[in-house]
Amino acid sequence: MKKIFSSKNLLLLMGLATIIVSIFDRPKAFSVLLSFKTYLLEMLSVLPPILILIGLFQVWVPRKTVVKAMGSSSGLKGILMAIFVGTVAMGPLYAAFPLGVSLLEKGASLFNTAIFLCVWASIKIPMILFEIKFLGADFAGLRLALTLPSIVVISFFLNVILKGRNFYEKT
């Protein structure tokens, strides 16, 4: 399983698929590569600041601070902290994965990290403005009001299912 789905094989598969598509439908293959390029450029523009941020975070922020702010005994404050950190940052969800991992490494609880990830994915201030513009304030407001508690519940279940295990925490 693990071997088949390794990233190297996945890349090879993509390359192969692209070649096959290009035999049958050349414009389609071009369009695949074009979207690939667009997203790659977007990724490259998003990634460096995030990586630098992670690096700085790892070196400068002491473990104790993170444990206190977002550890398993941080309670409501930890939840609010996770929501806050998730909302202010910009970028696609895949950019949040490494950040989440470094939070775990520093001793944030699984519960709070899950909240952080979900909030990052779904609640962004510019995104909300956009949603209001195109789908209406009722729609956007109600969705936001329903999403936030859902995220807390989802993260709670996640924490229960995984028994709060934190694979990254070094003790």
């Binding site: 690939f36 790659l40 690096g55 994915a121």
Partner: protein, 148 residues
């Protein structure tokens, strides 16, 4: 800017933070590349027109589920997705279907799942996406009841 501040405070610590940033980059470069390529495929073969045809006119719970599935699979930027969702809504799709689409779009990521697995493990990835999907449906139904 933060980097400059860090450099002023301690040259050594800055160097080590850059080093750890580089290590992170190396560990994620390959899976990210594969994921982005997969996204290229999806965007090509699942066009917005196709999506709007599938969930546009039919309402009811089937439309909601279909919309939720579409939202889970495709990966579109919010800045494209919201105008798209708005236009489908005006074409007569149900509020529930649109809510399901938008919510799963941001919360559930089938394409990014391999990447998520690499960072958080299989179990975490599966349950986070699964629970998000269920809750997206619940949110959608409530919204349909209130606004629909």
């Amino acid at each position: 800017m933060a980097l400059g501040l860090s450099l002023v405070k301690s040259r050594e610590k800055t160097a080590s933070s850059l080093l750890s940033a580089w290590k992170f980059f190396r560990s994620m470069a390959l899976p990210v590349l594969a994921t982005l390529w997969a996204i290229g495929f999806l965007l090509t073969f699942l066009s917005p027109a196709l999506i709007s045809r599938a969930v546009g006119q039919n309402s009811g719970w089937q439309g909601v589920v279909i919309a939720a599935f579409f939202g889970s699979i495709v990966l579109i930027q919010a800045f494209i997705a919201f105008p798209l969702a708005g236009s489908i809504l005006r074409q007569g799709a149900s509020v529930s279907a649109i809510a399901a689409f938008v919510t799963t779009l941001v919360m559930v990521g089938v394409v990014t799942a391999p990447l998520e697995m690499k960072f958080f493990g299989k179990k975490f990835t599966f349950w986070r996406n699964f629970l998000s999907f269920i809750f997206a449906l619940i949110i959608a139904l409530i919204m349909g009841a209130i606004l629909g």
